[in-house]
Symmetry: C3
Subunit: 158 residues, 3 copies
């Protein structure tokens, strides 16, 4: 990996619109031939979950309930009153033929975007490695992310 090339995206947020933006930028970068890494941490980990209930401990169960369903159940950062926000966002996307989140993620993977999962976040949120989609590289930490970032021209915190 050459110095000063590529894109590193830290996906901290779990809201649909921000995850959507993250994947859009990643796809754009990969399509332009740049090495692209996405580091999923905190709420962002939801975006690489398989979709089943997560965690067995108290907090994990609580998170699991809130996050149940994985990427398709992610709501936007605004207007998410009882799911209406998510519904509106999907409706709006569909009626304008914009690609949905799951397809975006697939496109990113197909274009060679690397998905990295933050290990500490997984532990704290009681998310098992098996709960993540297969394409994700597990057991990554801040050091791994920073190493990518120091070889990237563009690093974003989303």
């Amino acid at each position: 990996m050459e110095k000063n090339d590529g894109v590193t995206i830290i996906v901290f947020s779990g809201e649909m619109d921000k995850v959507f933006a993250a994947f859009s930028i990643a796809i754009g970068a990969a399509a332009a031939g740049k090495e692209t890494n996405m580091f999923f941490t905190f709420w962002g980990v939801k975006a690489i979950q398989k979709g089943n209930l997560t965690g067995q401990g108290f907090f994990g169960r609580m998170m699991g309930l809130l996050n149940r369903g994985g990427i398709n159940r992610i709501g936007p950062s605004r207007f998410n009153f009882g799911g209406i926000g998510r519904w509106m966002f999907k409706y709006m996307m569909k009626s304008h033929k914009v690609t949905l989140l799951e397809e975006l993620r697939k496109t990113a993977i197909d274009l060679g975007v690397k998905l990295l999962a933050c290990e500490v976040s997984m532990q704290v949120m009681e998310i098992d490695a098996d709960d993540l989609i297969d394409e994700v590289e597990k057991s990554c930490g801040v050091a791994t992310m920073l190493e990518k970032a120091f070889h990237s021209q563009v690093t974003l915190f989303i």
Copy 2:
């Protein structure tokens, strides 16, 4: 445009305080003689709207109602209970003689900051090109933004 110079700011958020921060940083960079680009996407598009009601479709109307009034009606990301947050923020700004959002935007434009509007966001939110202020470059995509970013020393996602 030289490599590794300039600043690119992706304005994703539509909240007053974040838009305020974005313009402040852009002005600082432009004042230091750096090429500065702001790419307005998702909720950030509000910050370059003229102020009239946007969109005729279902979602556009809904967004229009919520966003009616353009940059002067943008509220901060916190404490926005029934407009009180916006009022407090303006009061606080005024009583400390801090420049308001619209003046900030004007200053940025005067200093040569380039404003780019994300085309997909405009389509999805049913915002017409005519709804945006004249100084905005329309029909930009992620590819345009990334091209700017790859020639910038600093790229931020706000």
Copy 3:
């Protein structure tokens, strides 16, 4: 300071989880031997407050009430219903032996991370220099921050 080295983090958000992420990244960068600067602005200023009530004016008192208690009273960006979010976050952190926010900040300082306070934010929020912890460099502006950023390989807006 060499060109294209180091990390600059703009801490705009005041939520516990985002401040946590900011310090984690700063610590990782400093541990890797990189010059690391954190610029605290807007709500982020809370993270470097001593913990006492801030400001005497109307808005300062209002902010003070909301922010009372400094870094230990910061709540996460989600699920902060009446403090339950903060409690859950701490419980979760503790039960998984993850370092708490105040210790994180101390570690960052010990590793040589420089903390800069945004002067305009302090004025607007009516926060006195004495209200900030001693390790903070006061009287910084966007220009100072940008100077650091232009010599950094990685600049993040959190």
